[in-house]
């Protein structure tokens, strides 16, 4: 199969990766770049655990071809905290509210929480629930997650 070189930045760092045409972004991020914070769960775009930001918008990396994100800026969960390790406010809130059980949905939930607050600094509970409609959690029942995100409102 033909291989292509794709260029993108991930968490601010430029990368040049040789990929097959059918390589999925999630596998390139996890296997080639070692960024395993983004989780592979359903593989069919129905759980949201593979969420990353591409040019500022959250997308399902398991449904995105690596060749389709050439020349884009990608942010993964590893890029959310400050370089010195200071956690993002949403990450702190998840810790404070016990919004993590098995942790598998957590990177995606945190990304979606951060994305919502960037767009809407004061979301209502229903707006939060609306925003995480594509991100499934099998453990918490969502209450603590919604509470955590809500606590970050201005």
């Amino acid at each position: 199969m033909k291989k292509k070189t794709v260029h993108f930045t991930v968490n601010g760092e430029p990368h040049e990766v040789l990929v097959e045409s059918n390589a999925l972004l999630i596998n390139v991020l996890r296997d080639e770049l070692g960024l395993t914070g983004t989780k592979y769960s359903c593989g069919t775009g129905e759980c949201g655990s593979c969420t990353v930001l591409v040019d500022g918008e959250p997308v399902l990396s398991c449904l995105t071809l690596a060749v389709a994100v050439d020349r884009t800026d990608i942010v993964t969960i590893e890029g959310l905290a400050e370089p010195d390790g200071t956690l993002d406010r949403v990450q702190e809130a998840f810790l404070d509210h016990g919004a993590i059980q098995c942790g598998f949905c957590t990177p995606a939930m945190v990304m979606m929480g951060r994305d919502l607050l960037n767009k809407n600094p004061n979301p209502s509970e229903s707006e939060i629930r609306e925003h995480i409609k594509g991100t499934l959690c099998r453990c918490t029942g969502y209450t603590s997650i919604v509470r955590a995100i809500r606590s970050c409102s201005k």
């Binding site: 449904l63 060749v67 979606m112 409609k133």
Partner: protein, 288 residues
């Protein structure tokens, strides 16, 4: 997905050059939200993907000569967030917000939803009720304008030729954009393929319906218009009787199947209920 090539043309000429070179054996892709799951399930195994997402000119929402024009590559999120669409077609806005989930909507495109032509395509019923047209481009400049009610010919089958792509979807600005209703019934509130969906647009003069458009999803091999129901709506004043009669007529216009989401009997029954609700909703102020 063993052997696969991916092309990323930057303009339409490149697209048609690529089609010529591959003799029409390519699959057009954009958001890939259906294509990749289908490829992984082995439903399709294209050898060549022509990625249309580089055609930035085809992502727009604007007013043109009394019509609203939506570029085929506009994402569903963009449609859902558009103030212009919310004003000129609240039912389309509502349908866009109901497709998939927030993540899928950020990549899925309106052109892709129509080209995929699922009988359950969420964008189809409102666009049918708006009497929308699909505009295409083809090799040799043979692009055409196709009325959406002539576009779908079967499940996942459209009149598009192998070398033809959708560039734009248009509809005339409605007289009363708010006089519409869209109801999608799914087994979940999100990430649901519709069990049945109804879109209604009415042009009213007092209690008289001057023009009625009713479109349905997931109850036939394609998204359809309910022409007999529309005719009944347009026969003078709409009252309780009209609504009852329409909810019976519509059941004769649909061909639902039983599948993993619902039985044909349930779909038949629920379409009647949804239609009634939709008409009453319009009479009660419509979608804003």
């Amino acid at each position: 997905m063993d052997e696969m090539e991916h092309l990323n043309p930057k303009d339409l000429e490149e697209v048609f050059r690529a089609i010529k070179e591959t003799k029409g054996q390519a699959k057009f892709i954009a958001g890939c939200t259906n294509v990749i799951p289908n490829m992984r399930a082995g439903v399709i195994s294209p050898e060549l993907l022509i990625d249309l997402s580089g055609l930035e000119d085809l992502a727009h929402i604007r007013e043109e000569n009394g019509s609203i024009a939506i570029g085929a590559l506009t994402t569903i999120s963009e449609v859902a967030a558009s103030g212009l669409i919310r004003n000129q077609s609240p039912i389309l806005s509502s349908a866009a917000g109901s497709l998939g989930n927030p993540l899928t909507r950020n990549r899925a495109t309106i052109g892709g939803n129509l080209a995929d032509a699922s009988p359950a395509a969420d964008m189809a019923p409102p666009l049918l009720a708006m009497e929308a047209s699909v505009h295409t481009e083809r090799t040799g400049g043979r692009g055409r304008k196709i009325s959406l009610d002539k576009f779908f010919i079967g499940p996942h089958q459209t009149v598009l030729e192998d070398d033809e792509i959708i560039t734009q979807i248009t509809f005339s600005k409605p007289k009363d954009p708010a006089n519409g209703s869209y109801i999608k019934l799914g087994l979940r509130d999100s990430m649901a393929i519709s069990v049945a969906s109804v879109a209604v647009m009415l042009e009213m003069e007092g209690k008289v319906c001057r023009k009625g458009r009713v479109a349905l999803g997931s109850v036939a091999p394609t998204p359809i218009r309910a022409y007999h129901t529309e005719q009944r709506l347009e026969q003078g004043e709409i009252d309780g009787n009209t609504v009852e009669e329409c909810s019976a007529i519509v059941q004769k216009e649909i061909f639902p199947i039983s599948d993993i989401r619902a039985t044909d009997k349930y779909r038949n029954s629920i379409t009647s209920v949804l239609l009634k609700r939709a008409i009453l909703q319009v009479l009660d102020g419509g979608e804003r």
